[in-house]
Point group: C2
Chain length 323, copies 2
């Protein structure tokens, strides 16, 4: 792939932030940074009619090109737009995306734009991502697609999908790095006052309410467990508490939670640690102790694996300081 012609396809109502990421990274002249201008096109089904933005204020965006602008693009960006059933995306837009992809263009979706790609059939058998809020909906809608909800973007070669909102910046800068080199990506990032690469994935930004306990027979036990995370628990001790044989307990636990007692406990301990890091000033050692990890080292290890960043970094980002 070379990168000379970049088009953005808008679908009404337009999610303006995601669209603006495409404009900022690919659609601005930057001669003072020694970056050559791209042939940048903002395309819509009917460019003579301004498209309503997704906003509380009824403002609109007037595209510069019709869908014929998509033809000949090296990169086609699908901006975000509210999710609807596959048939309710304009058929002409889906056709334009399929044709561009067949002609060799790389396709980049931003946030919920991944559903447009899915509706066009471009994701079948592929790996992709989308906004963390829509990961489950995406899996249900497109069972033949592998949806990774933890990362900021997925580069599957000629199909690149970004996670939620600002993750579009990460995906766009990644494509700049891939096609135009690291130096240009770093220059654009600096102008945008963002890091060219971010730590951790999307997982760290997902809020974590306690999972609703729908398991009838183990519901009481699970509720009790969450209140007693600090204590030591083994499969044997839990089976005794549930008054079942270890074998029955293991089978029942897997059926009702989809995982093992050990993994479930670790998950709950990390969830609880996140909450304590957000809302208290407890030291890491105390947090580990409170949620039932043997040491700060063990907490750090599980935390990194599950959330994608270290506990101290997580606290720095999400601690609720009084205003």
């Amino acid at each position: 792939m070379s990168l000379r012609v970049v088009s953005v396809v808008l679908v009404e109502p337009v999610a303006v932030f995601e669209f603006s990421v495409a404009v900022e990274v690919f659609g601005i002249t930057r001669p003072e940074d020694g970056i050559p201008d791209l042939d940048f096109r903002v395309c819509a089904l009917d460019p003579s009619r301004p498209l309503q933005a997704k906003s509380l204020a009824p403002f609109a965006i007037q595209a510069s090109h019709g869908l014929d602008g998509v033809a000949g693009s090296d990169l086609v960006i699908v901006a975000a737009t509210p999710i609807r059933s596959d048939d309710d995306y304009p058929g002409e837009v889906l056709d334009a995306l399929r044709s561009a992809h067949a002609a060799g263009a790389t396709i980049l979706s931003l946030c919920s734009g991944s559903f447009v790609l899915g509706a066009a059939g471009l994701l079948d058998g592929r790996r992709c991502t989308t906004h963390w809020m829509y990961v489950d909906a995406m899996r249900r809608r497109f069972p033949e697609v592998e949806v990774d909800g933890d990362v900021l973007f997925v580069d599957d070669g000629d199909i690149v999908t970004s996670a939620g909102t600002a993750a579009g910046i990460d995906a766009a800068l990644h494509l700049v790095r891939r096609e135009l080199g690291s130096e240009i990506a770093v220059r654009i990032a600096r102008r945008m006052v963002v890091p060219p690469q971010r730590d951790g994935g999307q997982a760290q930004f997902v809020p974590t309410p306690l999972p609703e306990c729908r398991a009838d027979s183990l519901a009481d036990l699970l509720t009790w467990l969450v209140d007693h995370l600090a204590e030591e628990h083994t499969a044997a001790s839990l089976a005794r508490r549930a008054m079942m044989s270890e074998r029955t307990f293991a089978r029942r636990f897997a059926a009702e939670t989809g995982t093992t007692p050990h993994k479930w406990l670790t998950q709950q301990r990390v969830l609880q640690a996140r909450r304590l890091l957000e809302e208290t000033d407890l030291g890491i050692e105390q947090v580990a102790d409170t949620v039932g990890f043997n040491s700060a080292v063990v907490l750090r290890d599980h935390f990194r694996r599950q959330v994608g960043v270290a506990p101290v970094d997580y606290r720095r980002r999400f601690a609720v300081r009084s205003a």
Copy 2:
């Protein structure tokens, strides 16, 4: 200040990314996050005519309100637009900003929007910031304004200014935190897949070419110094090298560099360290050694003070990895 009515004032050509930050933080309905809708208005001098965006593609934005929409706002946001002489901003826009401010509105400028505030006379005697590229221009244009180029935003009460581009997100979330509380700010940040607070300031994003040596008489010495940062230098040893008395050397050095030999050397050492962190795999200890700091501890201390983040964090963000 309460926060119910928020208006954005657009000036042509519209910097779309900065505008979209205002839309994303204040102009979207988020009932699923329990956030009440604001009265959000996109205002322009003539809302019947679409405003050209600042982009390689000739697309346009149609505002929802005229400048009368600014009246009654609790918060007025001035989106970015290319810098011009004070008289070339529409006088009606400057009037609307002055009236809103006089009526008690908080004013938030994004990126180069700070120049619009300056042209309206709203920054006189105030502290503010702007994009790092424009800090010097801002200081020259508005000598009565204290411009801080290192931070992501400046909260001066009823006037809040953001640094470059994405720093607008930091400033906007800061205002949400200030007016609506931390919890709502955290919820919006998560939806946007950004941290509610970022580490370090704008300084870490500023590229650092070696300053051009315009000092005629010391030019050779300074060039030599940059090539010999690893060695030890004192005012006495440098004066000897320049074949001047220490007193003459100190006076000349101050006249030509605006600083002392010690401070200048420290600056150059940190600059060189940044370059090594970006482009090499040298350990922190080796970097310190190469640029002439006695130890990693000394490097870390000066680096943090000058750049705003620790060397390891800086490397993680800016290291040029091969694509």
